[in-house]
Symmetry: C2
DNA sequence: ATTTTTTGTGTCTCACTGTGTCATCACGGA
DNA sequence: TCCGTGATGACACAGTGAGACACAAAAAAT
């Protein structure tokens, strides 16, 4: 997969972004996207499995990166803090390498079909975090719930970061989400 | 919408469940489902918007019910407890009125396309809970995060309930998920 | 340098999805 | 009995996603 023309990947992604903005998601077909990017419809489907996937260009390596990031967190760190730290790291990197991220995220938030796919991607990341936490020795049930919660924080942090338009760094957005989270859950720990 | 034949809804749902189990989701077409239920393909799409929706038969009224359930919780209850109590109530009712729930849930968990739709439904419920909590006076950010967390607990509780095969009631499954949750999140409240 | 293999693309084809439209049929009320 | 409404069937159509095959260019092997 790695040898595919990276430029074509981005040409398709940019073409799709423009077309979706210009004409609306439903009015755009895979053929339109392919034509604007200078390939055939059939080739489009070799780059992206379906019409939705093109809006998530550049995120293919995130799951393995995240897995490694969780495993790289300082041993002894409690599960939730581990997950949040890894997500802060990976999220910061991801954001830096994206193109037109804000425009694509706006489309994803606005179009139910894309939002649906977005949730699947978050769920996949949760799976990865869960697996990595389990590997670190966490309890199975705890790992699953912690992973899901951490991704709730991640999602909210991303929304916050986009709203700030560069005036806030991603790690502090994660921290803010974590604070809201801790305030909302009545802790059982009473030191 | 109310005058539609309820029996046909369930005939289609049962036909789909059987066919998916027999031949696998991909090998089954909307035409097959319709034929087994004794209607035409076109009529299938009048009962269910697409091929996925049929596996979620009987859940159409859940969002408004949930909204009311949140509003009905004793005033003064903190947000997360409110959401969990409402979900326990609505979930119990839902489970009681379903047919072939376990078989359908097994298919949903196994087939990515169905799981994707399932996540959307959970997200819709989270929206509803968020709106209802906001209406009760909760902070906007808090309401959103609490709602999402509560639905993480709901999802885990449902999985646990299905695994117990009737030996556990739904409310206690919610309680168990809530406990795991509280243990995982280091509380900031130190009374 | 020539052959072989791999990789991306174009072309053609096909089953299936989801929707619009129109005709029909059952049923309840005036 | 006639009429209106709402469910259903019949037909048509754009679009999706994928298989099969050929072809060109690059990479690897000889």
């Amino acid at each position: 997969m790695g040898r595919w023309d990276v430029a074509t990947h981005w040409r398709l992604a940019n073409a799709a972004t423009e077309l979706f903005e210009e004409r609306g998601y439903d009015a755009v077909t895979a053929t339109h996207i392919a034509e604007r990017a200078g390939v055939t419809r059939r080739s489009y489907f070799r780059y992206y499995a379906d019409k939705r996937e093109v809006m998530f260009a550049g995120t293919g390596q995130t799951p393995p990166e995240l897995y490694q990031a969780v495993r790289a967190v300082c041993p002894g760190t409690p599960p939730l803090a581990t997950a949040l730290e890894a997500l802060a790291r990976v999220g910061s990197l991801l954001i830096a390498h994206q193109r037109n991220l804000a425009r694509r995220r706006a489309l994803i938030e606005a179009i139910p079909e894309l939002k649906e796919r977005d949730r699947t991607k978050l769920a996949e990341l949760a799976e990865v975090v869960c697996a990595a936490l389990t590997h670190r020795g966490a309890d199975e049930d705890t790992a699953r719930i912690v992973a899901q919660i951490a991704l709730v924080a991640y999602e909210n942090a991303l929304a916050r970061w986009l709203k700030a338009e560069g005036r806030e760094d991603f790690a502090s957005c994660i921290a803010a989400a974590a604070t809201t989270l801790q305030a909302a859950v009545p802790g059982t720990a009473h030191p």
